[in-house]
Symmetry: C2
């Protein structure tokens, strides 16, 4: 399998937009506009050719009546014309040696037009043109400037006010591969809003050719990629996916959300992108064997992605919880245990060290020597650091979930940098929970995250994040 082909989707030397349009709400307008803007900003380096027999010029650029009439090499085409015309476009593309096609057009197997999709697929196979889609959003690569998303960055509300609608997240190291375009668009919005950088986003749609495993292979070789996130409704090429994932997770983590778990979900998934969703338990077992960490909901997919992007995997599943609030500590402990982690009893050694600190007056005498370690509402930054060091140094503990409730009078924001300083000097993972919805809590979370500690607003989310680091780490050690 040649990964060169795959590269044409992300770094083409030339692209043609089939169905380029002058009408602002049309896909062919938005895609062309975004590419031209990226070219102007010097992010995108390829040549850009609008194709549409209706126009001689679109957006100030010469428009060609057909692919052939361009008269130059075209590496990649983006197709945004009605489904019925797509086979003709593909035939023409084959005749001029196009390497890759992103078919945005819908109206194929997802609405029952299986034959039309088969026809397109056959042309691809015969001519060697690789296909992403049909019925997809395509690709967004912030490094190369390749952007086929037809969703406008800005929209105008009925009040006349302009708001950010589908922002593009900044460049980062998380690859997101999604079957669903809608989910993908919402996901990009979520990532942009939460400051999560993206290495590349790919919406696969009906997936008549290029599937997850080829993209995973491509990004396995890519130095900018640290984590792969998958949104899956059903896997077409099961064996390839399984074998590839097994290999890739030896060096880079994969987190997957499988939608269509229940009867109703599966029925919907099957009508949605024409994929037949298999039995949920099978996916669970395959994920487990391949070292794929399974996210149980959308929020978790990103929460785990952030954790695996920032923190090292753990060598085991024994977790310590450090907190200044009893209730949130209990909730975190519950979720850890429910996820299969072990909220271990503290070792003699740790207890002795805690007792020493209590005697010296450096920890409060009322602290129970149990896990979660509850420093109480009187906890100071220094108490956090001293307790955290002891926990991280204990060979019985594989990672620490730190809850800092910033609302108490005794805790100051210097705790953030101090915790990060201790955490970054060693190799066990640390994740943070800061509860609250207003300024102070938000400030804590953002600063934790910036300094390399993934931070969550709910103890359950932090627990699932450290679970992902432990689950993946234990797989790595096998």
């Amino acid at each position: 399998m040649s990964l060169n082909n795959i590269k044409s989707f992300f770094e083409p030397s030339s692209v043609a937009v089939i169905g380029a349009s002058q009408i602002i709400t049309k896909v062919g307008y938005v895609v062309l506009h975004n590419l031209l803007m990226n070219k102007k900003k010097l992010i995108f380096n390829g040549d850009i050719y609008p194709v549409n027999p209706k126009y001689s010029e679109v957006l100030g650029v010469k428009c060609y009546p057909s692919l052939k009439s361009i008269g130059k090499n075209v590496e990649t085409i983006i197709i945004a014309v009605p489904a019925q015309i797509v086979p003709n476009v593909m035939e023409e593309a084959a005749s001029i040696g196009v390497k890759a096609a992103i078919i945005i057009s819908s109206g194929f197997s997802e609405v029952g037009n299986v034959k039309l999709e088969e026809e397109v697929k056959r042309i691809g196979l015969r001519s060697g043109i690789r296909i992403i889609g049909p019925n997809c959003l395509g690709v967004y690569d912030p490094y190369s400037g390749m952007d086929t998303l037809f969703l406008p960055e800005v929209k105008t509300l009925s009040s006349g006010r302009e708001v950010v609608a589908t922002p593009r997240p900044f460049p980062g190291s998380i690859v997101l591969i999604s079957q669903s375009g809608a989910f993908g668009a919402a996901a990009l919005d979520y990532m942009a809003g939460h400051g999560i950088g993206v290495r590349c986003f790919i919406s696969l749609g009906n997936r008549c050719d290029v599937a997850e495993h080829e993209l995973l292979l491509y990004f396995a070789e890519d130095k900018k990629t640290k984590v792969n996130l998958l949104y899956i409704e059903g896997i077409g090429k099961g064996r390839e996916f399984f074998e590839t994932s097994k290999e890739i997770t030896k060096s880079k983590p994969i987190v997957a959300l499988k939608a269509g778990k229940t009867g109703a979900g599966a029925r919907a998934a099957s009508s949605h992108t024409g994929a037949l969703s298999g039995i949920d338990e099978i996916y669970g077992a395959v994920f487990k064997q391949s070292g794929i960490v399974r996210a149980m909901n959308l929020e978790e997919l990103f929460d785990m992605g952030r954790a695996l992007n920032l923190q090292p995997p753990a060598h085991g599943k024994k977790v310590a919880i450090l907190t200044n609030g009893g209730g949130p500590g209990i909730v975190a402990a519950d979720t850890c245990e429910e996820s299969g982690l072990s909220v271990i009893k503290l070792s003699e050694d740790v207890i002795n060290k805690f007792e020493d600190l209590k005697e010296k007056g450096e920890l409060l005498p009322i602290i129970a020597n149990s896990n979660p370690v509850d420093l109480t509402a009187l906890a100071t930054s220094d108490m956090y650091i001293k307790a955290l060091k002891i926990l991280l140094n204990d060979e019985n503990i594989d990672g620490v979930l730190v809850i800092t409730l910033p609302q108490t009078p005794s805790i100051l924001d210097d705790v953030i940098e101090k915790i990060a300083d201790v955490a970054m000097k060693q190799k066990k993972p640390v994740v943070s929970c800061v509860m609250g919805g207003t300024e102070m809590a938000e400030e804590f979370r953002v600063r934790f995250e910036k300094i390399g500690i993934p931070s969550y607003s709910m103890p359950e989310r932090a627990a699932r994040a450290i679970y992902s680091l432990m689950e993946y780490g234990v797989h790595l050690g096998k």
Copy 2:
């Protein structure tokens, strides 16, 4: 049981702050300061007496050496002195006819001082003084201005910048009763940050006297209360709680989060507020029988609270999902089914009506007549309204979960008011999901919520919210 006693905690004609202090970081300072501010703002109407033999004046108000020396009736006392002194304070309070005591002080059964707590409890029982606490935050009632939270509203960061630390949510109709003070503080922060109004917040701590069921009874009679939220680590008076809840849920919903589900969580809960957490399954069964809706995590507690506060309960568990994105629809369907709701197949009648609209060109021909109803990325506001009306009018459907992804070009923000308009004209519940983390999505959610439709950023959360309306509604109909 006299509810008059309970009223003394929320609307006292006079309060004494035992342990009033001039030192800004002390509990006795923060509590007194907040009460005096509320008095100045004319929210709090009671008389306020600082008590501390060390001072003759605190915060510009005369300070008394003892309760007796006040020489006037004192209805309620707030105790913020070391644990050992609390019995003396209680004896003195008994001698002057105090009715209620909020004991903020810690150092009782939660650290093994069971005898001291028993002593305090006995004085209360003998003298008729009702007690909230010890080891608690006490009470926040935005209507009466009674505020014993010792957490400052504003804190100063190390950079010198002042930020909102523990904001007080605005007045609303949700009662929040929490065993954990830390959870309570974080919860208030969350509610303030997400614009969720609170009727009253009570942190119960060790709960040596007043327990959940009495507060539930008190707020059952209260016209401002619409929903009760409980954070529970363990129930002390099981039978009373069970019987009371059964009665109350006939008119007002209760949502409960039970922490300490697992072994580790239960161990932590038991050391935390001295409560022995029972077996998780028993709680599940008791909740079910009493008509209490169980939240599985903290976020859900508030999500369900918002749903029950804004929307009517449903008569059954048959749900329809209306969406412009396939993937999120599938995820919502999964969560609905996993929660025991039925994502029903559409009736002949609904399908016929959809077909009519398709023929007229008012719905797209590619829409499959299945549930979730996927209007596709080309959906307009008008399509939403037409489909929603048909779904809500179908006797086979008990409620509708509407997903609007605002990122597509064809959907405009007028869809919000139009959906609300349809929803508010009938009696079945409607909840909304708007995915995304930036401006447009945020704007959609806030406007939905303001107009009476609870709105969530993830399909799973919206699904659990409509589950709470269906679970409670079915219980009501029994």
